[in-house]
């Protein structure tokens, strides 16, 4: 079976576009990815800073403040999840376009006709649908993580 990612019409059409149009699309994706990466790294950086502060506060036996700081860390974990999902989807899209730009690129249809058990990893996953499922499940993201915030307050 052809992986979901390769079946999208925008992906299928890309090799037939003019170089100018291909470059335009690649630039758009690269810009989108750059913003997402910046946000993701910023959240990771905030989380690391919260973790570092928690550690220092615990060493100074300031437990109440340490709990507050740990709460911030938890928030960064949960809030970074949708950004990570989107970042993964866009990065995959960007790299797919980079590969399609190499002269001689062929979709692996023939290969898949001959053998259908080749695993194309993330390309086989419907990132958009799965992202929706994950986001729906994260209406109460702390419970997904198994953390009962109310009990901790």
């Amino acid at each position: 079976m052809i992986p979901w990612f390769f079946k999208q019409q925008t992906i299928r059409d890309f090799p037939n576009l003019s170089t100018k149009k291909q470059n335009k699309r690649k630039t758009e994706i690269a810009q989108r990815l750059s913003v997402q990466k910046q946000i993701l790294e910023s959240r990771i950086s905030f989380a690391k800073e919260s973790a570092r502060k928690t550690d220092q506060l615990l060493k100074r036996k300031r437990y109440s403040k340490a709990r507050e700081e740990m709460g911030k860390f938890k928030l960064e974990i949960v809030s970074s999840q949708p950004v990570l999902n989107t970042y993964v989807a866009t990065s995959l899209e960007k790299q797919m376009h980079d590969v399609m730009s190499i002269e001689g690129f062929e979709f692996p249809d023939l290969l898949l006709e001959l053998r259908n058990d080749i695993d194309f990893g993330l390309f086989a996953i419907n990132v958009v649908d799965d992202l929706d499922i994950i986001l729906q499940a994260e209406i109460d993201p702390f419970s997904e993580l198994g953390i009962d915030l109310e009990a901790e307050d």
Partner: protein, 162 residues
């Protein structure tokens, strides 16, 4: 709509000049995809090494401070995501490399008058394509890592409550 002829039959119908030209083009493409694949394989290796270093760092931190290890675990998530993306792209590059290599073999066979066998193409496919991934992103990168973080968070919360 008529059935598309198998590739071998289409090659048999071509002139030698056309086959020579086609072989030359596939050789050029093979070189491009081999270079791209090697470059991506290097990237995957560097990413594996980076992830392993972070794991070691987190393990050391865990012995001294759970919060510090949690901070490193956050960084590990992004590295792992990048690693899975690179491995997926590597498969696509390998598929293209294989396609051009296979075409060269088939063109040469046609020129040499090798008798067509329907299973011949199938046997050219290396078994290594099967073992690229054993888990999907949802079971490793997302849910798996969140699960690991959760148990570590539970421990950290216990420390805070003491």
């Amino acid at each position: 709509m008529g059935k598309v002829k198998p590739i071998y039959e289409r090659l048999e119908a071509m002139s030698k000049t056309k086959l020579d030209k086609m072989e030359y083009e596939h050789r050029q493409h093979l070189t491009r995809f081999t270079q791209a694949k090697d470059s991506k394989a290097d990237l995957v290796q560097r990413s594996d090494d980076k992830y392993q270093k972070l794991v070691e760092k987190a393990k050391k931190e865990l012995q001294q401070s759970v919060p510090l290890a949690l901070g490193t675990a956050m960084q590990m998530r992004q590295v792992r995501a990048d690693n899975l993306i690179a491995k997926s792209v590597l498969t696509l590059l390998r598929a293209n490399q294989f396609y051009h290599r296979m075409m060269i073999v088939l063109i040469q066979d046609t020129k040499a008058g090798v008798e067509y066998h329907p299973d011949r193409v199938k046997h050219l496919i290396p078994a290594e394509f099967n073992d690229m991934f054993d888990k999907s992103i949802l079971s490793t990168n997302l849910e798996g890592l969140l699960g690991e973080l959760k148990s570590e968070l539970d421990e950290a919360t216990e420390v805070n409550q003491e």
